[in-house]
């Protein structure tokens, strides 16, 4: 989860910048990218619509972008590589961004700081299949881990998954859009307790429910 934490930290800085009365120009994604990128190449933000996004996904995206206008919600940008990783292993890339448009994970995560909530709009493509015609349980688990992890990382900093418990209520058809809603329930010391639901766009179908426990890493200790 460290990578998502690195991404979360960058986002956090951007969020704080905005809250401290940054000018509207600071919200410009190009400027934000330049701030963090020391290279000439500007990394692509994958959390933006592309031609593979279905109508449902685009509509939801627009709805949430409207919610961002008053500052209560923030869209989290999403990059394939973090600077940290590039130095270590050039081939490594964020697991969920390794597919061509529309084939794998198409998603965008929004964060609400007051409610300590993340919402992920997720469209799973044909390369994420399990039982023919449906999303692989592992792909769903990956997105739940990513969404819940981000919900813990933004307030908590560098966190790692300690436990994930997922109840699958209904199989998710391939290429459909779901909304993953994650909530920070409580913090006990370095333990972050979160819960999460996966629902259809109209919220009528509950596909999965999950709980997660994330641990804030002790900066004094090494990873292993």
């Amino acid at each position: 989860m460290l990578r998502s934490c690195t991404a979360a930290l960058r986002t956090l800085r951007a969020l704080r910048g905005r809250r401290e009365g940054a000018s509207p120009a600071a919200r410009d994604p190009v400027l934000v990218r330049r701030w963090f990128s020391t290279e000439k190449v500007i990394p692509k933000d994958y959390a933006l619509p592309n031609p593979s996004w279905s109508k449902d996904l685009r509509l939801l995206f627009d709805q949430f972008m409207k919610k961002c206008e008053d500052g209560s919600w923030e869209r989290l940008p999403s990059y394939k590589n973090s600077k940290l990783v590039k130095e270590q292993l050039s081939q490594a890339q964020l697991f969920t961004r390794g597919y061509e448009d529309g084939l794998g994970f198409e998603y965008v995560i929004f964060y609400n700081d007051d409610e300590k909530r993340t919402v992920c709009l997720f469209q799973g493509g044909p390369y994420l299949q399990g039982v023919p015609g449906f999303l692989h349980g592992g792909a769903i688990a990956t997105m739940i881990d990513a969404t819940v992890g981000m919900c813990a990382a933004i307030p908590g900093g560098i966190v790692m998954t300690a436990n994930l418990n997922i109840n699958f209520k209904r199989p998710i058809p391939l290429c459909s859009v779901v909304v993953i809603n994650s909530q920070l329930d409580k913090i006990e010391g370095r333990k972050f307790f979160l819960s999460c639901t996966v629902r259809s766009v109209d919220e009528k179908i509950l596909y999965s429910e999950a709980t997660g426990l994330f641990i804030k890493l002790d900066p004094e200790k090494s990873l292993i």
């Binding site: 989860m1 460290l2 990578r3 998502s4 940290l84 990783v85 270590q88 292993l89 081939q91 490594a92 890339q93 964020l94 697991f95 969920t96 390794g98 597919y99 794998g104 044909p126 390369y127 994420l128 299949q129 399990g130 039982v131 023919p132 015609g133 449906f134 999303l135 692989h136 349980g137 592992g138 792909a139 688990a141 990956t142 997105m143 881990d145 990513a146 992890g149 790692m160 998954t161 300690a162 436990n163 994930l164 418990n165 997922i166 109840n167 699958f168 209520k169 209904r170 199989p171 058809p173 391939l174 290429c175 459909s176 259809s200 109209d202 009528k204 179908i205 509950l206 990873l223 292993i224």
Partner: protein, 279 residues
């Protein structure tokens, strides 16, 4: 072989597999899950006479640990009752001429679907794994080597990729050992990180079968068994597949019992977007 047609069956118990709506599912006859029926399931799964590419074979990216254990288990397939499971690009390839007896239509016209864990052609890039299954002991061993595409914390595998590998191994075991089809629950406790490019050994075994559900724990550890990476458990719903001469899935549930929580079926039907139902 006994033909298993769709029958109006006893409802699943309220704490059964799919809460939120009453489902009438085919009667599951436990007797058919064992004995010679399992042998035929396994041989159908393995598709021995096929041109399909088998991804669960050694390649240049496999680390020495993985190659060693692979050969050790290959030896066991000769006399100890282990079977090396092939791994094709799509689960559809593993269940040819079978269909799901469910109400859900699927977008079955997509011929380019890949199973999640076989997403790239480049060796060593994402999931490198092979599963050995023991039919009579109802257990499996998966040798898993995560590649750079699966990175989470720098240099280590992403928790999600491990969750996927656990789900995949437990799924295949559930299917072959007891016709488990859908994951109902996955509970994973992450203990230690897996270094990218190193081997993780997943040990999986059916603990019990109750109320049309299979309970399957899974432990992932290092080659020398000194480090435990995760302890997990999966619960699976048993559902029998039916013989099907056509390629596509068909609908076969009584309309009056359609739970309102499945509008996708209606939506797809009315929009004409479900090729499966018309064939």
């Amino acid at each position: 072989m006994m033909r298993r047609g769709l029958q109006v069956a006893a409802r699943l118990s309220h704490h059964g597999a799919l809460p939120g709506g009453p489902y009438i599912l085919p009667t599951f006859s436990p007797a058919s899950a064992f004995g010679s029926s399992m042998d035929s399931m396994v041989s159908r799964f393995c598709q021995e006479k096929t041109d399909l590419k088998n991804y669960a074979l050694p390649n240049a990216s496999w680390c020495p640990d993985m190659l060693n254990l692979y050969h050790k288990f290959l030896e066991k397939t000769k006399a100890d009752g282990w079977i090396r499971l092939p791994s094709f690009k799509s689960n559809r390839n593993h269940i040819q001429e079978l269909k799901l007896p469910l109400v859900l239509t699927v977008s079955s016209d997509k011929s380019d679907c890949h199973i999640f864990t076989r997403c790239t052609e480049t060796e060593g890039q994402s999931y490198e794994y092979v599963i050995f299954f023991h039919p009579s002991k109802k257990k499996s061993v998966c040798l898993f080597q995560p590649g750079p595409y699966l990175e989470g914390p720098p240099g280590f595998a992403h928790g999600g990729s491990l969750a996927a590998m656990i789900d995949e191994t437990v799924s295949k075991t559930a299917y072959l050992a007891g016709e488990g089809l859908f994951t109902l629950n996955l509970n994973i406790r992450f203990k230690n990180l897996i270094r990218m490019g190193s081997l993780a050994v997943l040990n999986v075994g059916v603990e019990k079968v109750e109320d049309q559900k299979l309970y399957i724990p899974c432990v992932a550890q290092s080659t020398d068994q000194q480090t435990i990476y995760t302890k997990a458990s999966g619960t699976f719903l048993q559902l029998q597949l039916e013989e099907d001469s056509s390629q596509y899935y068909t609908l076969c549930l009584q309309e009056s019992l359609l739970p309102t929580a499945l509008p996708t079926w209606d939506t797809l039907q009315s929009s004409g977007g479900c090729p499966g139902s018309n064939r």
